[in-house]
Symmetry: C2
Subunit: 287 residues, 2 copies
């Protein structure tokens, strides 16, 4: 049973609309509130050599990225900090606080707990006007498919390429890009934190469309063999670029450094250079 | 170093206003949003014999209680679920969902993670009109001090009194009472989840006042020796009654089952029957 099978079970209990996107969406008068929570912890998410400050930064970044993926502006972030030693708390909080400040958000509290394994859970709140909200389900045939940044950098950093280490341990969420894309008319969006290939599948499935991408134009981490770079870019996790679709005549979008990698058509599935693209990426393993 | 010392350090980084109350308070046009996160986990918070359903219920309840303590109406709750076995997830989600529904809130998603120790982090969002928000710092000399429910029940349940087991494992947050108290004009409020005595100290310190309580009138768990019941009621954790202050002529407040246990005056400190009341209750231990 993988994460996605579990999510299907949970949908049966709490409803499908609550689990469709990177954030929950809540009515708030003339706009929407969006809210997301992410649990990360030592064994799975913090590679050896990562500092406590960087752990705090990463915890904030993953949640800010989810808010960005909805086109929303972050308002506040809370951090639940479970650590084995109290002397780790300060650096973790400083890292999370710095990440929030870098993206005009505010760390407004949280919870503290003694925990055998360092476990950080960040929860973010954002707000977006009704016409700027972007969900996963809006991709339309004829749209182009684009991605910001360079997918695969975090995986390259994890695999020992020092030039990509910072991309892994202090990831940069697309907070400003997400807001620009929401205002500009992106039709569907999510972040690629589980990997580009699986995110393409998620977006195509949520929208009920087919996506075709061109392998050669996908940005790849520099200084890595073409073969490894391709694998990292397609199947590596830990990056915070935004994958989005929009009408072809809107692209490129001023202020957003993005690469057009393909297009949307009727049908289903994700294809690269005409062949089915494997639905694989980062997923927790169970049992 | 205890939790409260750590919180002082964190205040130095993120600011004091962000950590003063049971929830963070966020401007939202003509009202406020309130938000709180709570981490609970197997070793510290789930007594032997507690079911997964009850763990999920408790996770939701602790956060709904924080929202209640601000006088706010809960809007949405997210649950980050870290568990050792995937087959535990369903019962946990069902418990959290049931608690949300019981209090007119909605479980709107969360995160899933494989974790050696079952760790649940719930984050709740609420909304309250500006004139109904209740903070910890508003207690005024001349106010009365009151508490809802019966403090000490959860501790009695933990110590082996079967009649109080349910109070421990399926706690009832004061969601409806909190909203009534906010509208009625309560001047300061918090929940007593860390214990009544320490909560009295927190409220008195935040408000810069003295509080005097009368030991004999404090509600105590039934079926327990007077001495143990007193200790549980003052220093036991895990209850979700609301401790509040209000002008004397407002009390009792229709729809809220509360007991007046004392009064507020100028000065500082908390006294029971004229003697200083120990500032003690539930706190995590570090190092």
């Amino acid at each position: 049973m993988d994460d996605r099978a579990l999510v299907q079970m949970i949908r049966g209990i709490i409803g499908t609309d609550a689990t469709d996107d990177d954030c929950a969406v809540i009515e708030n008068g003339e706009d929407y509130l969006v809210m997301s929570t992410d649990m990360i912890h030592e064994k799975t998410d913090f590679p050896k050599g990562m500092t406590d400050y960087e752990c705090g930064w990463m915890a904030a970044a993953v949640t800010l990225s989810d808010i960005a993926a909805m086109g929303a502006t972050p308002l506040a972030l809370l951090l639940a900090t479970g650590v084995d030693r109290a002397d780790r708390v300060e650096a973790i909080i400083r890292g999370a606080d710095a990440c929030c400040r870098a993206y005009d958000c505010r760390l407004m509290g949280g919870d503290l707990d003694a925990h055998a394994e360092c476990t950080l859970v960040s929860t973010g709140l954002g707000r977006v006007s009704r016409d700027c909200l972007v969900r996963r389900r809006g991709a339309q045939p004829g749209n182009i498919v684009a991605v910001t940044g360079t997918p695969g950098q975090a995986q390259a950093g994890l695999d020992g390429y020092p030039a990509h280490w910072q991309a892994l341990v202090t990831p940069r969420p697309g907070v400003f890009e997400g807001q620009v894309l929401g205002r500009a008319g992106a039709t569907a969006m999510m972040d690629v934190s589980d990997g580009l290939a699986i995110s393409l599948h998620d977006l195509a499935e949520a929208s009920g469309v087919r996506m075709d991408v061109t392998g050669a134009v996908i940005p790849r981490p520099e200084g890595v063999s073409y073969e490894d770079a391709t694998r990292y870019a397609l199947f590596g996790g830990g990056d915070f670029g935004l994958l989005f679709t929009c009408p072809a005549d809107l692209f490129p979008i001023a202020g957003v450094d993005a690469t057009c990698i393909g297009h949307v058509s009727t049908g289903e599935g994700v294809f690269m250079d005409g062949k089915p693209l494997k639905k694989a990426g980062y997923a927790h393993s169970w049992e």
